[in-house]
């Protein structure tokens, strides 16, 4: 600990404060993942395992690298020219960053929903049908659209107006449309980067209920700034923090009861109780 870094975030969390899972339980895993933007190190050697059919929340103060980290799981950082990812991310045991891996295929298997709803300027139907079509999936598109919209808890609200523009929907509905779009290509993991932060409380509640519902079928990794939201929807929470030099590190990762009731690391305690961040 130093004076400029009063809670000591120059060190990652202790190994024993990071939960581990068995090979059978795992769906994705990050091993020593570091990301640099140009010459600037953004996150350093983050290792964590995500078990199947769970909801894992990534929490931490602004600028700790949560969004940078979540984007590593499906190679979204490839889209940022200056970003360089080292370490290994595996999905069902396969290295996502191996040269023979197709990033588009990975993004179908590991879908993503962003902070601001970003439907295409197309009809509701076409938004959901987009993935299966460009992926050339040999499926009944009508059926996929209905199933995805049902799973995203949007079907009843839009079934009579599928030809309307996706942009005609409310913010909360647009976000559920984006979730339906991600589900249409039958992913196994869905990454969500603050999916409810731009929504009103009722729409937020709908998204939270949906996440809980989806977790029986999918694995969800969610970045959230809302700690209460993490306690409500997540099974596990991972705390990332950055010190003075703005390098994000994994401080602690465990079940909600560990992170929010009896944190083992004093830095987690300081963050979750609002003393820092």
């Amino acid at each position: 600990m130093t004076q400029t870094d009063p809670v000591g975030i120059t060190e990652a969390g202790l190994e024993e404060n990071i939960i581990k899972f068995t090979e059978e339980e795992l769906v994705v895993e990050a091993r020593d993942v570091s990301v640099t933007y140009g010459s600037k190190l953004a996150i350093e050697k983050v290792s964590m395992q995500v078990p199947r059919n769970s909801v894992v929340a990534l929490i931490g103060p602004s600028g700790c690298g949560k969004s940078t980290f979540i984007r590593c799981f499906n190679r979204m950082n490839d889209l940022i020219p200056s970003a360089r990812v080292t370490g290994e991310v595996t999905y069902n045991g396969t290295n996502v960053y191996a040269t023979d891996q197709d990033p588009t295929e990975i993004r179908f298997r590991i879908g993503m929903v962003f902070q601001r709803p970003n439907p295409f300027p197309k009809s509701i139907y076409d938004n959901v049908a987009f993935g299966p079509r460009i992926n050339g999936m040999d499926v009944d598109i009508d059926e996929v659209v209905e199933r995805s919209l049902r799973r995203a808890a949007l079907w009843d609200e839009v079934k009579d107006r599928l030809k309307d523009s996706g942009l005609s929907l409310s913010g909360g509905q647009q976000q559920r449309l984006c979730i339906a779009r991600a589900l249409a290509v039958d992913p196994e993991v869905v990454l969500m980067d603050e999916p409810a932060s731009a929504l009103d409380p009722i729409s937020t509640q709908a998204i939270e209920d949906l996440i809980t519902e989806l977790s029986s079928r999918y694995t969800i990794i969610i970045v959230t700034h809302n700690m209460q939201q993490a306690t409500r929807i997540a099974d596990y929470a991972a705390v990332l923090m950055a010190g003075e030099e703005r390098v994000g590190r994994l401080i602690e990762y465990g079940p909600n009861s560990q992170i929010f009731d009896t944190p083992r690391d004093h830095r987690t305690e300081a963050y979750v109780t609002g003393r820092i961040g």
Partner: protein, 230 residues
């Protein structure tokens, strides 16, 4: 400093507990003194003063609920507020035991006690010492001192239990000797029982103090130390 106001509110809540502990302690001291001295006015004052203890519990509850609503606390903060509510409720019950002893004293009227009170005041001294220590443990916020205070409270509770068994045996013996003693012996038995319960409540507070600093529930007292039990 982040959350300075919340920290002040938490400290304030803790001060309220210390204050309530003082009210409750005074109630037990007065109730036993009034019983021993046959001072019925004093017994009545103990009964009247119980409202103040009840009011204090309500105040603490309202403040704690407000903090839960405003601050959505987690981790130690949440445990502190929950533990405060629990301790306030335990203190309120101790106040009721004091009131109960005062009511027994009124029931006894101007009759002298069946026997000189020796073991009951001893039990009271130990139980009150446990009460003070339990509140000290609750306000420690430090694992090792809290554990050590809790262990000493555990041993004192054993002493109170031994004294209570002695009082019980003595009073039963007096009842056996003469059926006319039964009523007055029963009064003293009730008083002793109330003090024994004060000690139990103090032990509960110590257990809550351990929970506050460790997040774990343990049983204070018995052969195992708190460190062994954790």
């Amino acid at each position: 400093m982040a959350r300075a106001e919340f920290d002040r509110d938490l400290a304030q809540l803790e001060s309220e507990i210390i204050l309530m502990g003082g009210l409750v302690e005074a109630a037990v001291i007065d109730a036993i003194a009034a019983l021993a001295q046959r001072d019925l006015d004093k017994s009545q004052r103990v009964i009247d003063a119980d409202d103040r203890i009840d009011d204090k519990e309500n105040e603490i509850e309202v403040e704690a609920i407000t903090l839960l609503r405003k601050e959505a606390p987690v981790a130690t903060d949440l445990r502190r507020i929950m533990a405060t509510l629990f301790v306030a409720s335990e203190l309120e019950r101790i106040g009721d035991y004091a009131e109960g002893i005062a009511k027994i004293s009124l029931l006894m009227g101007h009759e002298p006690p069946l026997k000189e009170l020796i073991d009951i005041p001893r039990m009271t001294d130990i139980a009150l010492s446990m009460l003070k220590k339990s509140i000290e443990a609750f306000t420690q916020h430090d694992v090792e001192p809290t554990k050590s205070i809790a262990d000493s409270i555990g041993s004192m509770d054993d002493e109170v239990d031994v004294l209570y068994n002695t009082v019980q045996a003595d009073l039963i013996e007096l009842m056996k000797q003469d059926a006319d003693n039964i009523e007055r012996a029963t009064y003293l038995l009730w008083a002793a029982h109330n003090i024994e319960r004060v000690a139990d409540r103090a032990t509960n507070i110590a257990e809550r103090a351990i929970y506050l600093v460790t997040g774990q529930s343990v049983s204070v007292g018995g052969s195992e130390t708190v460190s062994d039990a954790l």
